[in-house]
Symmetry: D3
Subunit: 135 residues, 6 copies
Amino acid sequence: MATHRLLSDEEAARDPRVAAIFADIRETRKTDYINNFWRALANQPELLESIWNRLRQVMAPGALDPLTKELIYIAVSVTNGCSYCTHSHTAAARAKGLSPEQEAEFLAVLGMAAQTNQLVTALQVPVDAAFQVET
Amino acid sequence: MATHRLLSDEEAARDPRVAAIFADIRETRKTDYINNFWRALANQPELLESIWNRLRQVMAPGALDPLTKELIYIAVSVTNGCSYCTHSHTAAARAKGLSPEQEAEFLAVLGMAAQTNQLVTALQVPVDAAFQVET
Amino acid sequence: MATHRLLSDEEAARDPRVAAIFADIRETRKTDYINNFWRALANQPELLESIWNRLRQVMAPGALDPLTKELIYIAVSVTNGCSYCTHSHTAAARAKGLSPEQEAEFLAVLGMAAQTNQLVTALQVPVDAAFQVET
Amino acid sequence: MATHRLLSDEEAARDPRVAAIFADIRETRKTDYINNFWRALANQPELLESIWNRLRQVMAPGALDPLTKELIYIAVSVTNGCSYCTHSHTAAARAKGLSPEQEAEFLAVLGMAAQTNQLVTALQVPVDAAFQVET
Amino acid sequence: MATHRLLSDEEAARDPRVAAIFADIRETRKTDYINNFWRALANQPELLESIWNRLRQVMAPGALDPLTKELIYIAVSVTNGCSYCTHSHTAAARAKGLSPEQEAEFLAVLGMAAQTNQLVTALQVPVDAAFQVET
Amino acid sequence: MATHRLLSDEEAARDPRVAAIFADIRETRKTDYINNFWRALANQPELLESIWNRLRQVMAPGALDPLTKELIYIAVSVTNGCSYCTHSHTAAARAKGLSPEQEAEFLAVLGMAAQTNQLVTALQVPVDAAFQVET
């Protein structure tokens, strides 16, 4: 299923902006494989450039390590119910060294967070003054 | 705002199950302060017991460190739009040592994940075979 | 907070469609009190008519009793994170006889559903053939 | 599609905790069939135990009857957009006696709740004092 | 996948209300094709009537043009993660003249809105008085 | 409520990047007023720069007019349940000329989209081949 075509390498080569991003993806990730998200986004070259350039910067190692960033990404993706994103970032987290023990704990936290979010909303708990920052 | 009352310590003391959980919260967290979520949940003693006992176990240090667990918790809470949960777990993450640099990167990842989730869904990108596990 | 004014009875009386719906709400519910949702929606008389007329029909006793319908309504509202809706339908469910024991079980189901939804999405579980209807 | 393998009975038999839960599922449900959710969750034996044991308790008959609990479960699942959960709990509700008339009314309530939630949020309606509990 | 059968034309002809709505869909849309949503909803004739009659009215040209209405519809559908709805309304928007340039800008807005929503929620920004209407 | 402080003009002036963005916001919008979102985001200068620069570009007039872009933005914000975003973009849409008639129709579309999304998900309608693009 799709609402937008996935561009082949041949099609990507026709637009210099798309070609440049595809080349950068391949170099950054040290692989010839370009996953479907980028091939779909390539229908909109300006958006492709903007998203890839920002994503590369945001997911680079920094004060948080790459695996932690992937776990945060999966957490958002699962909560948004994004199947593609859950698949792709789970694969990425495993490639970055997620151990089975870490995955088990991660899933347990995901489930508890969803549960307590739901209960807090059902109970409409007022925010403690201690948790608020003075504006 | 609330749909359930917040139980005072005096009211909590009337039900031995609630009293026991409140005592365990105080001991586990090394503070006399009990935040509103537990005071609201105390209207349902069985649920209070179940949630607290599970949460204590899930959030304990393990293969993932407590700060990473808090970041995952915030990611779910923000994505669910739970104001109380966002406040309480942001406070908890800071208490567990979240640095301003980590917070800045965390926010950047949260924002990108929401954005790419949205684009993936708009484009209805099919999942790459490479991301799928054989069932 | 609001993005639309709440119409007073005096303002409602100026538009015959709004006046008629306000009269019908009062008669149907056997109370003079008109809650804020209707006062905000009254800025759009056509939408007010459409929503009230449909809601009255949908929430009437039928194959499902009114309390069960309220519980379903709260379940959707909590999951959508709608604070106003959670407040108003929790109040309605209590007015329709929700007991504390029922409320405790309801909250437990709400929490479990959120948790298992989250885990199913994280695991990306394929749907069993046994659960699918032939199209 | 999946991010985690579905464990076969043979694989399940290798871990005594998983084997015990699978046996309990079969006995409780009076069927040899174990659906994919449990086979995926079985990759995390501790989580499998925790979820099954809690779910069995929460969904048991009590102050709310089992069919009502299933309807609440579906309402949360649909609102979260969980396809697997919607399939499995719709099947369960039918197995517990959901009539076509009840299903038609259920769907009508689901749709109205989603619609009025959306309008309330668009209008940002302030919560009536009458709906709030004193904290 | 489905939880409800898709009614064939033959089955639709058995219920006069369903037959009448199917005829109206065909006439309004100037096509013999009836998409799956209506065939699934036809299992509930009353709901089918209510939804179609309201939708026809809401999506008709008015103060907002039909293409703008479709874009709003897609925006809600993507944010709700509704795959079917995203597919059907993207097809409808293209049929109503959505240009590639408009689609590229539309996707850019969708992505930014998701991102800033997420950041606003993470930061828990208080609403400016200037944005609030006096109630 | 807030999890991050709102920076005053004096504080903003201490970081040259923040000062430059605040100046650009004022010039672009032809007003001295800087709303709370930017004051909260200013705690993370890099993120502030990235978001403002991209937002300015995305929301500029193009193939879609600025009012249409605001309506799409509100649609996403309402569906995500973001109160701040709903307030701020509703105010922006009015400033850009949203008429009461347009607003009434917009709200009607928002409500219908939420309702049919919910029904589609409950029915788990399979996507018509006619709506799919060949990948």
